[in-house]
């Protein structure tokens, strides 16, 4: 039982990181129907920005988090402007291939400049451990979960209480109608990328602190898994992404805790194929019907 709860704690902290990345996927997919493959790499860049700031500027956790978020938001907007905007009217496959291209570009440009070697974060948070019976919860896990919750609440606030949030929701329902109502669609899409990327950047810093090691290819697997989380929860749905992220995180830790950690990734991908076959709209997604 203790081991079960311990795995649960570990799973939730990993899952909240996945959830933060999955939110960006789900928002971008909701608004322009694009699987933004580069999202996982924005998260990687976020981790590197955090690393640079904490190591070379000797700043603490919160400044690093905020600067990484701002940098990633800017990066997300640039990617959208340069790579995706010219393709707004081309086929879905073309945009998807571009997204893969951007993803590889970010990975290898980073590798070119910072080298392929793994770097470790300086110690930012105390690794004080709280014991609840036999369950160990460390300070970092608490920080991760709390930061994730605060950011998600902030996102809910932006989406439901502000004008731009309303615009985002409207554009994701019907782009043309929104445009006719005088909503600046391009600006809204750009803003969506900014918010999604900022969340990914935050996740990058959190992961850097949690696992204490970063490298230019660290974004590939978490990116894919976060996408699976978004699909699991129902792509386009914000609460779905949060639930999906947490479930994938918990599942992954359980597979490595009780089974063979080598099969961790395979189980997640098998889950994806199962969801896509059984319920492609995900847990909270809406069924869409195809019109002929």
């Amino acid at each position: 039982m203790d081991q079960f709860l311990q795995q649960m704690v570990n799973g939730i902290s990993l899952g909240s990181i996945y959830a933060l990345i999955a939110l960006g996927y789900t928002m971008v997919y909701g608004i322009i129907k694009l699987i933004n493959f580069a999202h996982g790499d924005v998260y990687m860049i976020g981790a590197y920005v955090g690393f640079t700031i904490t190591t070379y500027a000797n700043l603490g956790f919160f400044p690093a988090l905020i600067i990484a978020m701002i940098a990633c938001a800017a990066l997300g907007m640039v990617i959208e402007k340069v790579a995706y905007k010219p393709l707004r009217s081309s086929s879905r496959i073309a945009v998807l291939i571009t997204a893969i291209g951007v993803s590889l570009l970010l990975e290898y440009v980073m590798m070119f400049f910072v080298g392929a070697e793994v770097r470790s974060y300086p110690k930012l948070l105390s690794d004080q451990v709280f014991l609840f019976g036999d369950i160990r919860i460390n300070m970092q896990q608490i920080y991760i979960v709390v930061t994730a919750i605060v950011l998600m609440l902030l996102l809910q606030f932006i989406l439901h209480k502000t004008k731009i949030g309303k615009a985002m929701r409207v554009v994701s329902i019907d782009k043309d109608a929104a445009q006719l109502m005088g909503i600046k669609v391009d600006k809204t899409i750009s803003f969506t990328f900014a918010i999604g990327s900022a969340l990914a950047g935050a996740a990058g810093v959190l992961v850097g602190i949690y696992y204490n090691s970063i490298n230019p290819l660290m974004g590939v697997m978490p990116g894919l898994k976060a996408f699976i989380a978004a699909v699991f929860g129902g792509i386009g749905s914000i609460p779905g992404a949060m639930i999906g992220g947490l479930s994938i995180g918990v599942m992954e830790t359980f597979v490595s805790g009780y089974g063979n950690s080598m099969y961790r990734d395979a189980v997640v991908f098998a889950l994806l194929i199962l969801i896509l076959i059984l319920k492609p709209s995900g847990l909270l997604g809406k069924d869409t019907r195809e019109k002929v």
Partner: protein, 321 residues
């Protein structure tokens, strides 16, 4: 349709000529060991690209799991030749590898090909990852350390034979009524379905044929490079193949061949700069999609560019007016 048309004779002549010239160059020693690797890469990549083109370019089903099928062929052939160390074993291995890859393709294709566009892409990607993880954990494949000392049977003769066979068979498939059905699925799936085409059947068929040749390419790869490990067949390998197809033009076999040659030569020159090569690949993908989404050839083949066809086209156009 006569088999011995002028065009087919030209093709036969060109193939024989290429074969003889390269064979001569190898024997004289102008193509040394170093360039032979490039040659093998070109041939293997052509088979991979042509088979992926059938799935992605002609049938319009975006697959990111081609490396998975390739790895099945590679491992099956490697294990077969290691137990049956002869040319018969090698050919048996290729056949078994291709067939097993095709079977897995059918098995995975039937449920996943109901998905569309990006969902299919992710599902196939997931499939390739699952295959890789399975190979990573199997005893017989020696896990992450990989297989070593695979006997080498792949030579220029076999490479040439299988490359030509793959191109011709896939070309003939596309020209057949089955192939036309596949193209109609790419153009408009709903319209194709309403014309009475069993879209699932043809999608799975294209998937299986594509997987078969990917398996054959993998088998040739295993038997040429002595050494296999699951990491070779990662997501990046699938992307490598995709870059060839996209650059050459989705829906053009000629384009795939040209792009495979160009990129293999490029890779040879950039061998010691892996990062630069990947940056170039990635930038190429983005630039092609933004500025010339149809790639080098679009959906045209080499004979579409020749004169006698143009004349026919004009006549046909006039008639249809």
């Amino acid at each position: 349709m006569k088999a011995l048309t002028k065009k087919n004779l030209y093709i036969l002549g060109a193939i024989l000529l290429t074969f003889v010239i390269v064979q001569l160059l190898i024997e004289i020693g102008i193509i040394n060991q170093f360039y032979e690797v490039t040659l093998a890469t070109i041939c293997i990549n052509i088979i991979l690209a042509v088979s992926l083109n059938l799935i992605t370019g002609f049938t319009g089903q975006f697959s990111l799991g081609h490396a998975g099928f390739m790895s099945i062929g590679a491992y099956v052939c490697a294990l077969t030749t290691m137990h049956l160390n002869s040319t018969v074993g090698f050919l048996l291995g290729i056949l078994a590898g291709g067939t097993l890859a095709a079977l897995v393709g059918i098995l995975i294709g039937i449920p996943t090909l109901r998905l569309k566009g990006d969902y299919l892409a992710i599902a196939t990607l997931g499939m390739a990852e699952i295959i890789r993880v399975i190979f990573l954990n199997m005893e017989i494949t020696n896990g992450a350390a990989g297989l070593q000392g695979i006997p080498r049977y792949t030579s220029w003769v076999w490479l040439c034979f299988f490359t030509v066979a793959a191109i011709l068979l896939i070309n003939n498939f596309i020209k057949s009524s089955h192939g036309r059905a596949c193209i109609s699925i790419r153009e408009d799936e709903i319209a194709a379905e309403s014309m009475g085409i069993n879209t699932t059947k043809y999608k799975v068929m294209a998937f299986a044929i594509g997987a078969f040749f990917a398996g054959v390419a993998g088998a040739l790869y295993a038997s040429y490079f002595y050494f296999l490990k699951p990491d070779i067949f990662s997501f990046l390998k699938s992307i490598d193949i995709l870059v060839i197809v996209v650059l050459g033009g989705m829906g053009s076999l000629t384009g795939s061949v040209i792009a495979a040659v160009v990129l293999a030569v490029l890779t040879t020159f950039l061998q010691s700069f892996t990062e630069v090569r990947m940056i170039l690949y990635a930038a190429l993908l983005v630039v092609i999609m933004v500025f010339r989404p149809k790639g080098i050839m679009g959906t045209k083949e080499w004979y579409d560019l020749l004169k006698f066809n143009r004349k026919e086209e004009k006549i046909w156009k006039r008639r249809s007016r």
